[in-house]
Symmetry: C2
Subunit: 377 residues, 2 copies
């Protein structure tokens, strides 16, 4: 009996292009992150990635890299995670650069999902005699642009959810002690994530109990100064001593159902932003307020740092695009301790929310599980 083996079309060059693309992740919006490698036989001539909107696309960056090293690109192969663009945006079409340098073959990770572009670049290159092959390391390449797809198709920010829990799913003791469940290295990972997002989202309890700073406390050449958005039914007084409203008022946003005009005015006077919202059937429309952060404040990436009720609301509303779940090797064993996800009711196991584990690894003593909604690639 013969088995027909699936050919997943994996290439080490595409893997390199993917790792290059990831370097730009967080900084390219509204563009996707893209990586590119140029080879001849087994030799790498050049490599590049899209660093930020307005700068060179990955293909052009790789071409420039190869030329700066004195290589002739005639008959070379370009490996690019996303289909090259074929239109004039802030930069000229990559397809032109490919043709100009006589690149012979273009191997593409995945096609551009943007309806304006779909098939455009690849088809155009083929029509000009370039050998085009599509679908190398395709799942990983599609994963790279999940953010981009979310912006275009859902018109909302791409949302990371981060939680640090015990083995038995607790994020704090009954009286709120949570320092520290996760290891120093896990917390560093989170600060790196904070440096790539435009807004950090928390619930009111986290704001009032922890009085957090929510800044990316890392050394980095490139880091953002994210907004802090707090979803809360009650506002603090403008004269209260919370760090965010005193030290980072212009970076603080309250998403609230409270309509105390005096409080709102006081906070706004300090520079704090207020997004007023209404409850409907006991719930606020999370999609609506998050879309507002996207459209009005250019929040392309949001990192939600809990607590459990907000985390569960995101999951329930299909707004948790990626979950980073840090599991510390401790057991609390206390039913009254606070759960990582809370506020839901399920009768059957099969009614739970399903995810795919896309990565898992030790970070110091913790285990980090990286998840995306099941089948959502």
């Amino acid at each position: 009996m013969t088995h027909i083996l699936e050919n997943p079309k994996n290439s080490k060059f595409m893997e390199l292009a993917i790792s290059l693309a990831k370097k730009g992740m967080g900084y390219t919006a509204p563009n996707p992150c893209v990586g590119a490698v140029i080879t001849k036989g087994n030799t790498i001539l050049g490599q590049g990635y899209h660093r930020r909107c307005g700068e060179d696309h990955a293909e052009v960056a790789a071409i420039k890299d190869a030329i700066s090293k004195g290589h002739d690109l005639k008959d070379s192969t370009l490996w690019v995670t996303l289909e090259p663009c074929n239109h004039y945006g802030k930069t000229p079409p990559c397809t032109h650069a490919i043709l100009k340098h006589n690149i012979k073959e273009v191997n593409i990770g995945t096609l551009d999902p943007n309806p304006n572009v779909k098939g455009g670049g690849a088809e155009f290159l083929k029509s000009k005699g370039v050998i085009v092959d599509i679908g190398f390391n395709e799942i990983q390449c599609k994963n790279l642009i999940r953010d981009f797809i979310t912006w275009h198709k859902k018109k909302r920010p791409y949302i990371f959810l981060k939680l640090a829990q015990s083995l038995d799913g607790k994020i704090a003791t009954e009286n709120g002690d949570s320092k520290w469940i996760s290891s120093q290295k896990s917390r560093e990972f989170v600060h790196n994530l904070r440096a790539k997002v435009d807004c950090i989202l928390i619930g009111g309890n986290t704001f009032f109990n922890d009085n957090p700073k929510l800044t990316p406390r890392i050394e980095a050449n490139e880091k953002k100064d994210p907004f802090a958005a707090i979803i809360t039914s009650r506002l603090p007084g403008s004269d209260s001593e919370y760090y965010l409203i005193n030290s980072r008022p212009k970076k603080t946003i309250f998403i609230t159902t409270e309509s105390d005009y005096e409080k709102i005015k006081g906070l706004q006077k300090k520079g704090v932003k207020i997004i007023h919202t209404e409850k409907k059937n006991g719930y606020i429309n999370l999609y609506q307020v998050l879309s507002k952060l996207f459209s009005d404040l250019n929040c392309y990436y949001i990192l939600c740092e809990g607590g459990g009720r907000l985390a569960q609301s995101l999951v329930k509303n299909k707004l948790a695009d990626e979950i980073f779940l840090f599991i510390a090797p401790i057991i609390l064993g206390d039913d009254r301790a606070k759960s990582s996800f809370s506020g839901n009711t399920v009768a059957k196991i099969k009614d739970g929310y399903k995810f795919d584990i896309i990565d898992y690894r030790k970070i110091d003593t913790d285990l980090l599980i990286h998840l995306i909604p099941k089948g959502d690639i």
Copy 2:
């Protein structure tokens, strides 16, 4: 500045010996599991492991294997996970076999922790001119005999705790639905574990709600027929239709505080065993009843399959020697669902029970985390 690098004394031959030892795990009691490899230069001459009590020790099995292949053992090297014995038990001392075959060098994983033996075999071999080196892959070799150390030092069974939970630490919904949190392959793993233990331990709720069989349902040349022990405050009637008391009465043990003489008599008449115990300050003495299973019924290995209160009691009483925690990629998000560990009260995170992750891997869609108590090697 120079760094003094730790030399962990790892060897691929000791790794092989360790994997051989694991083949015997579960079947060697009251002996430890041991693996051995004989080499000359980079060539493996023979290998073996201790299969069960009364049969060849690993060293002798490896020597016989090498001889059966026509090798001369003069000037060879023996790699053995545990210090060779130097006393007459059910088999002659391994040290004699080593000397008889002129093995030149003996590399040992870890010394025998048994006070009767400590230093004996290694010292004796040295005194006879054999080159002895100790501490190869030592942590793993020590891990291999954690069961053996438990039997000797704690006079109780070695206890595995297995739980299958959602990402947020739930083992069942509020109304008890738990079929199935974990994947088919994870459940097969558990059946393999069942085949190596002498007793499977559950709580009364699991018995009454799930009416379990608790048999190892796998195809295997070698498998045990473990007892089912139920810790419960109430006994079922002897005429009730639970699987265990009807189909496997002689393999069923109730550990109970109930003293209804008629019920006890009825169950005993069927062949069911009853271990009566008392509560003290609201708790039964778990150590005491588990020691009884060890001393009276030769239960060397116990596998506890929950629920959450029993799991937490084992952890609290330092009776969970190894935890196999299966995490399925689902979120229930329901505070009323049943937790994997329950019944404890902790004020501070630092008061939680601490573990070391010794292994973690995907099993189908689940993640299996393998833990031992922190620092407990």
